[in-house]
Symmetry: C2
Subunit: 361 residues, 2 copies
Amino acid sequence: MKLPFTTLEWIGPATTGHLRLIDQTKLPNESTYIDCKTVQEVWDAIKRLSVRGAPAIGIAAAYGCVIGAQQSLAAFEQNADHLATSRPTAVNLFWAIDQMKKVEPRTPENLLAHAVQIHNDDRDMCNAIGNHGFKIIEQLAATANASTDPSNHSGIGILTHCNAGALATGGIGTATAPMYVAHQHDLKFNVFADETRPLLQGSRLTAYELAAAGIDVTIICDDMAAQVMRENRISMIITGADRIAANGDAANKIGTYNLAVLANYHNIPFYIAAPSSTFDMNIPDGSHIPIEQRGSDEITQGFGSRTAPPDELGAKTYCPAFDVTPAELITAIITERGLINPVTPAQVLATLNNLRFTPPA
Amino acid sequence: MKLPFTTLEWIGPATTGHLRLIDQTKLPNESTYIDCKTVQEVWDAIKRLSVRGAPAIGIAAAYGCVIGAQQSLAAFEQNADHLATSRPTAVNLFWAIDQMKKVEPRTPENLLAHAVQIHNDDRDMCNAIGNHGFKIIEQLAATANASTDPSNHSGIGILTHCNAGALATGGIGTATAPMYVAHQHDLKFNVFADETRPLLQGSRLTAYELAAAGIDVTIICDDMAAQVMRENRISMIITGADRIAANGDAANKIGTYNLAVLANYHNIPFYIAAPSSTFDMNIPDGSHIPIEQRGSDEITQGFGSRTAPPDELGAKTYCPAFDVTPAELITAIITERGLINPVTPAQVLATLNNLRFTPPA
């Protein structure tokens, strides 16, 4: 589907064209675009988070390699290696650059064709997740319409956390993909977006992209989710994932596990939407996923002005960036090849060969 | 116990003295005090939230009545009625002013004596809650010391939400009272303070007052509470309450119910600390407590800069100010006369006569 904004795209021919991307540091207040015409401009855009989200970063770096070949075929490898230093732990970034290095013969045309292929594959993956997830929403809508419970609020309510959206990918996102597909099918539903402290990706990015696409979206503070569930406003929860263990335990933005526990208590289905490339079959369960700790500034002055006591008073902060939702709290994992349901070690193992993402050769 | 800040106090003799209070609009960055020497200055301080928290507002208004009598005995009733308009729904405010109107003969000396009595009663109530709650912490500490579980983090961790603290009362607070008493007894524990979106009373006020008192306090974002519980860092949860129904259902700041559900899942005891005056025996259960809705600004631009899409994009907000925690999720209610435990309609009914708060005559 055509979104009213473009996360990133290639403009012009292979030999003289450039990468254009929406400046996510200016969202949600300004929708401005950046034209990256040098490798350094792509590097800067990734570094300062003008483009973010693992798939989107990988695609940006792939296009950056095309620009590198425009600048100098002799310095291609050097430029590509420089791009890889823009974010330290972005697996998709390294993967995309490795793919681009393998392109033969190394011409701007061939490189652009391959970057477009990486972009298209990501778009296809998003669409496939969207189509599988849409069926779940469609089924819930059918049930809701049949229900005579007066406490049912305006049909289907979908809660999401953080931004696993179009702004993070080359397509319609992962957690948001079923919403975009449902919207395209004129299905009536509304989305609740957790604002997602500390970095507020929910209110800044998810609310922006859904509202811009004409989807009914309501921002809530993270501590309101339980009350919204209690008021029967939520029919399902969908979030993305950063890394999923072999048993289905899923690491995602801090606050995801919170929602999974709440969903369990309120008997609301809880879904993870993620491509098969998110699975790390080398780790048996979530206890092997390290939880990154972030700096205190995100808590003490996340909104610009300081909102915590001065340092000399000695109040501390604790700021885990991720949490791990145990498989038993996940109703199903929506992948590009279909659902993992139930989420058990056996089910993940049994379907792995089908699900394993094969990077383009 | 002596706190390193003073929420509010009377300075000087009855005929020429005045009310001094810490300016909570400047916290946590500046600890500055306001001297209120006219009724209008007291009214302004309440109106702009320089003093907040139901008990503290009532005490401020009582002292304001003394100032009213200094200004003009003839205009005493008029000044008192004016003070009552400073906050529209503050029950303690109206109650304290009614009490002050009944003082006979109406001299500054008699009025000050009565205002001090209201203040002292509130301080006693806080101390009583603190002593009862301390016994719970003491018992948990004994259990923790006996435990050999290596995942036990540094003894007792207490999680709280919003600010039911010394800054909201004339004494050591309600939810914070057991912490201050435990600190006075040199018991080792640490507090996790939810920042408490949207108004951040947890990071701005609770973290301030506990850190200022030398208590080990750590600020977390609201969506981190589940992860902190999963990491075995929380031994108990204590929050305040705004209104409690006859069956023990408790309305408190939005996000409290969230914590109660998480506590239930993680087998962590969940306590409400509140004076018996918080009970509204006219309502059988929490479904009769209306949930106030707040304006969207608190979500979209809570602290200076805007963090949500521009209005023209059409993203909505939903901002309930309170939620209701059902009695079955509350381990016990800590009141000034002891614990309600278990929290059942029968237990609340049976103990009501003992618990009913008798305002000073």
